[in-house]
Amino acid sequence: MTVTASELLAVQGSRQLRDDTTVFAGVGVPLLAAALAQQRHAPKLTMVIEGGIIGPRIKPGRLPISTNEMRAAYRAQMLPGITDTFLFAQRGFLDYGFMGGAQIDQHGNVNTSVLGPDYWKPKVRLPGTGGANDIASLCKEVIILTAHEKRRFVARVDFVTSPAWLDGGDSRRRAGLPFGGVSRVVTTLGVFGFDPETRRMRLDALHPGVTREQVREQTGFPLLEAPEISVTEPPTADELAMLRALDPERRFLG
């Protein structure tokens, strides 16, 4: 069986998480990636879910489709309510925010609100921020997992739903966001960081077999490149076995 795009994202995403940390994870691939990390190399990782859920045990084959349902809360350690869950992030207790994104720009800002120039007359109305804005504002570090497609990777998002580095430089700090920011974008093509000065997106690593040209073709803005671009380790048999056991019906793994 070949590795699907979702499997690649989940495995590469899971490797970003250290042990003895907390991760605010969205449902779908982010939650799978967090569960994989917990099983493989980060047993003392705590998963936090937006519906007000701390430390659930993810039941193989019973993955939640929303952050507000009993499968997301399965054998949880605590159910503190939604507002108080976000306040853990605001206080500084949540190390990682792990999220997807409809549209992302060269400074890591994400749009999940509207397509088109006028918020009040949207060309396409998307579902909205949910907790994405809060995760992007409040977690110590945000990691975005997303398919790498030209229509998603735009120079400037139509609407900044979730702030990363805003206009780059110190504009995030000046906007009143002293903490956090997007540290990594893990895509189906590679792993990206941000230049510490300009806060423009930078190619750090390519997945095996992916070329810089492919990345450039699928990116709607000029990318910076790290001095040395590494190649990621492909998903191991172990990682894939664990991951596939979590989602045997392949509802999220494709």
């Binding site: 449902v27 779908g28 937006e50 519906g51 007000g52 859920i53 019973r62 489709i65 929303s66 952050t67 507000n68 349902e69 009993m70 499968r71 809360a73 399965y74 159910l79 309510g81 939604i82 507002t83 976000f86 306040l87 605001q90 609100s113 918020y119 009040w120 007359k121 949207p122 060309k123 396409v124 109305r125 998307l126 579902p127 909205g128 921020t129 949910g130 907790g131 804005n133 809060d134 504002s137 409040l138 609407f159 900044v160 739903t161 979730s162 702030p163 805003l166 504009s171 995030r172 906007a175 009143g176 966001l177 002293p178 903490f179 509802r251």
Partner: protein
């Protein structure tokens, strides 16, 4: 419609408090019928809906408000689901304030929401999830705003008209998330006594704050217990009776949405519902749905019969398995 200015009634803590002061805060009987409860929602009200997405949604109350043909409502809910779609399609709502609206990952972006919002029929005022939670909490605390570190720098600030505040100690700029005082709160809980003392199991969502924020509080409960029973576990009570205006005993009052530990959401029903929308378009499909599930069955029991006892038992078993 696209007016980004905050309406003063949302954050006016002095007026909101005067309204509460003028109202009896009784430890007496609160039990009534669903139509008497729903009648307390009036034209143009700002209505806050408890639960979250398809969890513990007060659907029996929502249904009764639609049956009473209320119009011009502003609907406030952190994550909106089918209840919002029904309100939009029924023409009951002119504005929603929310962080997110659709049903869930498998069913994609809500076609109903897109139809009514993109056409301009309904304004969707978006706030971040925490910001909406803090808006309720500020109101629950009786203050006009709460300082926070969220939403700043994003384009959401301009949508809702949020302001900032300087911390008087450090001088740092913080978000000043404005209070949101609803006219009415609709809530569904696990158990309550006839005096309105209400207990919730599992995830509490934002219901406790919403109950304190609203001028009028309407509650449906899965189980009606004696007050000896609520007094046996006072540390489980999240809403005190003195702030409840009307209580109605409605088992399965959130169905086909879920109620933690009692019944699982009916995903098959969501799939049928969205398939019908895909096939016939939002207006026709939801129109039929309203006729069949809302305007048709005179009582909630009649409504539940459309699902059938077997379906209810299946959903109950699924919930038990996940929370036992």
């Amino acid at each position: 419609m696209g007016d980004p200015a905050l309406r003063p009634a949302e954050w006016d803590f002095v007026a909101a408090r005067r309204r509460l002061e003028a109202k009896p805060k009784s430890a007496g009987e609160k039990l009534t019928s669903i139509d008497d409860a729903a009648a307390r929602v009036t034209e143009g009200d700002r209505v806050a809906v408890g639960g979250c997405l398809f969890s513990r949604t007060p659907l029996a109350l929502v249904r009764e408000i639609l049956r009473a043909r209320r119009r011009g409502l502003t609907l406030v809910r952190n994550l909106m689901c089918t209840e919002g779609e029904l309100m939009m399609a029924a023409g009951a709502v002119e504005r929603v304030m929310t962080a997110w609206m659709s049903i869930g990952l498998p069913w994609g972006v809500s076609k109903v929401m897109r139809h009514y919002v993109e056409s301009g029929a309904v304004a969707l005022e978006e706030w971040s999830h925490l910001a909406l939670g803090l808006r309720f909490r500020a109101a629950a605390m009786g203050v006009p705003f709460l300082p926070a570190l969220t939403m700043l720098g994003s384009d959401l600030v301009a949508v809702g008209g949020m302001k900032t505040v300087a911390d008087p100690y450090s001088g740092e700029t913080l978000a000043a998330v404005p209070a949101l005082f609803p006219d009415v709160a609709l809530l569904h809980v696990h158990r309550a006594d006839r005096f309105g003392n209400s207990q919730i199991d599992g995830y509490p969502h934002m219901d406790a704050d919403i109950a304190r924020a609203a001028a009028t509080v309407l509650v449906t409960t899965e189980e009606l217990v004696t007050d000896d029973e609520t007094r046996r576990h006072p540390d489980r009570t999240v809403i005190p009776g003195f702030l409840v205006d009307a209580l109605v005993h409605v088992p399965f009052g959130s169905f086909p949405h879920e109620c933690y530990g009692l019944y699982h959401a009916d995903f098959d029903h969501f799939a049928e519902y969205t398939a019908s929308i895909d096939a016939r378009g939002p207006e026709a499909a939801v129109g039929e749905y309203l006729a069949r599930y809302v305007y048709g069955p005179p009582t909630w029991d009649d409504y539940l019969e459309l699902f059938g006892g077997e379906r209810l038992a299946r959903q109950r078993a699924a919930a038990r398995e996940l929370t036992a």
